[in-house]
């Protein structure tokens, strides 16, 4: 049993991102409409789904009619977004080619075939290295809003476009839900980051292709020059940049070649292969690969964020579903029904009137603070104490004493506490008492103040005692009427006893 339960707990089903998106869309709709969608089949599906609250919420949202529409519209939106992405990547690839083309065509236009290599590299990588720096800064400084300007821009543009272009309730809801989810958990940041890097990678790839093409079919002379800086710095820089591509076996310019290529050192241009592979290698290693790597990383992070994404179940829109989706208990119904034919209540015993006798037999039944109770201390010579009933032994004794009392008393008075709930045990005692004696049996309800102090409603409690008195044939219930004042029970009894004495013929 144990393993079974824990297994099931660990396997709590986790819905996919789409399911959460649908649930979010349904919630947004309900939030704006101000009430929940009341589809019986959807509620039922949610309840039957089992598992934790989130799973039930997801299933229920998916089972609503609106949820189905949202899911359908998502399919179309996804294809559209895919085409849009391809289009954007193509466009940026082309613009990368254009940039490279421009960088390499400039010397030709000027009527020369000399390329200033650092100038060319700077024009192809400079901007995007700067942007990379900016991106990193945004990620570090504004962790909630970062993600790259381009990516954010594309996301925003997509959202804005979609909002303007999309018609119909379900697609609009889907987009709003997507934007909501994107704003949580860093998901938007990582998605935007992925897009940013992909776009720059496309740009660099375009540039790389263009360079490859241009360097293949045209002939350039590679030179460099400086006015302000020392030559050694340049040599070190170029060698350092060439280290990585060099490890991969691309031919790189050595120090002699670098020094020889300086503007104006020799007439003949040298090492065209080395220089072009240096340029291409730099583009690859400092432009394309970092972007691809970062893009992959961002994509992984976005995936992780998407997997970790849970609905905010404490938000009012979801919390209000809980009572209907996740019952805390299930009633099993009556397993042992009450007896079908209730025994007919026996004929109520005949009423007794007081016949002679001058004494009153007094007994207490399950009283509180029995030892300090007034029936222990009263000073009436005509009131004969029979003791107090607390458990079944005292009960037996008291019954025997009541039966054996000589001469028979005029009245037997049972003092009960209003703080007690009358039960069948009391009922049995009163019936017994009445069969064993001939005198009328009175019931005196005492300790009303105690009952009230405990928050018991004295009137309701008295009603229960009245019913008991009726069933057992108690001849008189004192006090006669329910009162709100807590009168001393002894006085009530005294007055009632005196009155009944007067009435006796």
């Amino acid at each position: 049993m144990n393993t079974h339960i824990s297994d099931k707990a660990s396997q709590a089903p986790h819905g996919r991102f789409t399911d959460r998106l649908v649930a979010e869309a349904v919630r947004l709709h309900e939030d704006r409409a101000g009430r929940v969608i009341d589809e019986t089949s959807a509620w039922q599906a949610g309840r039957d789904a089992g598992g934790d609250l989130e799973h039930r919420v997801l299933v229920r949202a998916g089972a609503t009619r609106l949820g189905g529409q949202v899911r359908e519209s998502l399919g179309g939106a996804r294809t559209l977004a895919g085409w849009l992405l391809i289009l954007i990547l193509l466009l940026t690839g082309l613009s990368g080619m254009a940039a490279a083309g421009a960088a390499l065509a400039a010397p030709l236009v000027a009527g020369s075939s000399q390329i200033n290599i650092l100038w060319a590299l700077g024009s192809l990588l400079g901007v995007q290295l700067l942007m990379l720096l900016l991106w990193a800064m945004f990620m570090l400084v504004r962790p909630r809003g970062g993600g790259g300007l381009l990516g954010q821009g594309v996301l925003g543009l997509g959202g804005g476009l979609a909002r303007r272009m999309v018609r119909g309730q379900a697609p609009v809801l889907a987009i709003r839900a997507l934007l909501q989810l994107m704003s949580r958990n860093g998901l938007g940041r990582w998605s935007a980051g992925t897009l940013t890097h992909l776009i720059w990678a496309a740009f660099t790839a375009g540039a790389l292709l263009m360079c490859l093409w241009a360097l293949s079919v045209r002939q350039y002379d590679f030179i460099w020059g400086t006015t302000l800086l020392a030559e050694d710095h340049f040599v070190a820089l170029i060698t350092a940049l060439g280290l990585l591509p060099g490890w991969l076996g691309l031919p790189m310019p050595d120090e002699a070649l670098i020094r020889a290529s300086r503007l104006g050192v020799t007439e003949d241009a040298l090492g065209r292969v080395q220089w072009s592979s240096w340029l291409l290698g730099s583009l690859l290693f400092y432009g394309l690969l970092p972007r691809l790597g970062l893009g992959l990383w961002c994509a992984l992070m976005a995936r992780r964020a998407r997997r970790r994404l849970r609905l905010d179940l404490a938000s009012p829109g979801y919390a209000r579903l809980a009572p209907r989706l996740l019952p805390n208990s299930q009633r099993l119904g009556v397993v042992d029904p009450p007896p079908l034919s209730l025994l007919l209540p026996p004929e109520p015993p005949r009423h007794r009137e007081r016949h002679g006798g001058a004494t009153l037999a007094l007994l207490g039944y399950e009283l509180e603070q029995a030892n300090e109770h007034w029936i222990q201390h009263h000073k009436h010579p005509a009131w004969i104490p029979l003791g107090q009933v607390d458990d079944r032994h005292t009960r037996r004794d008291v019954l025997a004493a009541a039966q054996a009392l000589q001469p028979p008393p005029a009245v037997v008075v049972v003092v009960c506490s209003l703080a007690r709930t009358p039960d069948r045990s009391t009922e049995g005692f009163l019936t017994d008492l009445r069969t064993r004696t001939r005198a009328p049996v009175w019931l005196l309800l005492d300790q009303q103040d105690m009952a009230r102090a405990r928050g018991i409603d004295p009137r309701a409690r008295r009603t229960a005692w009245e019913q008991l008195a009726e069933r057992t044939g108690v001849d008189r219930l004192l006090p006669e009427r329910p009162t709100d004042e807590d009168r001393a029970a002894a006085e009530i009894l005294e007055a009632a006893f005196a009155a009944s004495e007067d009435a006796t013929p």
Partner: protein
Amino acid sequence: MTSILEVAVVGHTNTGKTSLLRTLSRDTEFGEVRDAPATTRHVEGTQLLVDGEPLMTLYDTPGLEDASGILDWLDETGGGRQARGDDLERFLESPDAAGRFDQETKVLRQLRASQVGLYVIDAREPVLGKYRDELTVLGLCARPLLPVLNFVAGPHNRAQEWRDALARLGLHAVITFDSVVYDLQGELRLYEKLRSLLDPWRIPLERLMQAREREAHWLRQAAAETVADMLIDVAACVMVVEGGGRHDTEKAMETLQDRVREREQACVDALLNLFRFRPSDYLGERLPLEDGQWGLDLFTPEALRHYGLRTGEGAAVGGAMGMAVDVMALGTTLGAGTAVGAAAGALLGNTLDLGRRLMHRMQGHRELRVNNNTLRLLALRQCQLVQALIHRGHGADQALQLDAPTDDTWRKGSLPKPVQKARLYPEWSRLNSDATGTESRARAQALDALTLLLSGDADTP
């Protein structure tokens, strides 16, 4: 073992067995509860579910009323020796068991079919002989018994007396758990004691405890967020009054009051639903709002005074109308209704809003919004309701009444920052017709901050 732990809830009549079941199962509709003997005459079961999986079955039984009678019966038929387990067998098969002892028989049979019994005691009662007799009879069933002292939250209880008496009978593990005044720790202790009595069911009981704790935490969160959402809606609510006539102002004010009242009611409904109570569980202040007899209405100066709030002297336009509002006129606006610092700061970055207001001003429009004291009152009332619901057992039968709050957090000082901020963003409020910002990130952040603040309040007892 594939069975579910079965627990019989037994006890004298009218000690709150059904109430206890209601509270443990969070089911206000289970069985029938009355302050009368023998309200429950049958055995009824309910299963406690965690994530839809039953972990424990509780059985509500009729009250024991005549245990002494059973002992007498056993004495008479058993020849005077001490009653034993097989005597119980003899009793259960006798015609008397189905006849005059029908209720008791049901209890005993159910206890024997269960693994453990919860013996519910009305702790306000003295330890009478009949209760000792009940424990003797129940003891014949040879099942562990866990006494549960009910109604211990009031001042008139005799928990200590009961503990002593139970200890003398060999029952040392005693639980205090009030079925009307709910206490999470009490419920956890109950399951903990059961766990120590019933080792084979250790794992489901632990799961149950974890689930209860998780659920309580979630409830606090969700309740705080529900209240925070309402507060932001109300704080951001603005009515633009076209034209400066007194009639227009009055009409707008009425609309505003109605909207705020409706929003508060929606919040109350949501909270009751969240805690799984019936709408009738908080009638006291519901009806007066509904049928127009405003006993403790939001906007009366009396209500504000009741909560110990000072009504702003200058801000009251409609003292007679029962509501103090800020009539927002630019120039005096920034100081009057909203907190100065926040307003100035936010307005600087809010030139669009400023422009819109200027336009309104030039067209002779004025803006009407709920004043600070109303916000304080709303926050106080709802926080108090949340507290009351957290501590209300599902066995409680009487509708909830709220006293004057003792908590000073909302009465003094300036309003919390998120509320002040909401003042300046009409688009955040669902009460405004052009609520475009209900899904904005800024509102979500303000909501989170306010929720944190409120749930922090809720954690202090």
